[in-house]
């Protein structure tokens, strides 16, 4: 299998795509980001973004059956952290990022919040299907709300 492209000097994490794997990975990643200077508000936002991304991979890309995820973080030195997330699950529907619009709260929705939250709380996000892999590239803020 070809090695996935990752930014140079990146911190890499191997994650099992299941709820417990996501929890364990978030603990390690958030500790690393805080050590790298992540502020309190930005910490809250980054944790929500990464939780939603990883949970979506477990639930939708792998359909709850589990599978590997590779995550790499790299500080860009301009107040942002670049995050690359790769999985070998199903592609995004229609090969594109899901809708960024928040569901209407009056409809008492029980889901559909994940991607709108990711879009609101990250500084940028891009998706590519690379052969049998999905790659998300996220830009997280080191300082924020």
């Amino acid at each position: 299998m070809p090695k996935p492209p990752e930014p140079p000097g990146a911190r890499r994490h191997r994650i099992e795509a299941c709820p417990e794997g996501v929890r364990a990975a978030l603990g390690a990643i958030m500790a690393e980001l805080v050590a790298g200077g992540l502020g309190d508000g930005a910490r809250r936002d980054a944790e929500i973004v990464l939780a939603e991304v990883l949970t979506n991979i477990a639930r939708h890309a792998y359909g709850g059956a589990g599978g590997p995820v590779r995550l790499a973080l790299r500080a860009l030195g301009d107040g942002h952290v670049q995050c690359s997330v790769i999985d070998w699950g199903r592609p995004m529907p229609r090969g594109a990022l899901p809708s960024a619009s928040m569901p209407d709260p009056q409809g008492r929705p029980e889901g559909g919040f994940g991607w709108p939250l990711i879009r609101l709380l990250s500084a940028g996000v891009a998706y590519e299907r690379l052969g049998r892999r999905n790659r998300l590239r996220l830009l997280l803020r080191l300082r924020g709300a």
Binding site: P19, V22, R23, D45, M102, P105, R108
Partner: protein, 104 residues
């Protein structure tokens, strides 16, 4: 999934004794709240003072519990920490739930 239940006047207060309400515990939370709701009065207050992290799965479970209580009983939220409050506000669910700064 540990939830402590107490009565405060006419309301039932359910305190979630977990630091995270996320995809890992969303189903257990709903199941436990279903048992608690079975004998609950008209007003149920969910005390989230110990919850430090809420994701969209956890929020979806809270909304499912509100719907489970039916139109005649209310679910209110109390003691939201900064991370929990951020998710509730961004999803505009603060327009649906009555939110108390502190649990009674």
């Amino acid at each position: 999934m540990q939830i402590s239940v107490r009565r405060e006047g006419a309301a039932l207060v359910a305190q979630l004794d977990e630091a995270r309400l996320d995809a890992a515990v969303a189903i257990q939370f709903k199941d436990r709240m279903r048992e608690i709701a079975a004998g609950a009065p008209d007003r149920v207050i969910l005390d989230l003072s110990r919850v430090e992290f809420l994701d969209s799965s956890g929020l979806g479970a809270v909304i499912a519990v509100m719907k489970m209580l039916g139109p005649e009983r209310r679910l209110e939220l109390a003691a939201l920490g900064p991370a929990v409050e951020r998710v509730v506000r961004l999803t505009r669910m603060d327009t649906v739930f009555t939110i108390h700064a502190e649990a009674p």
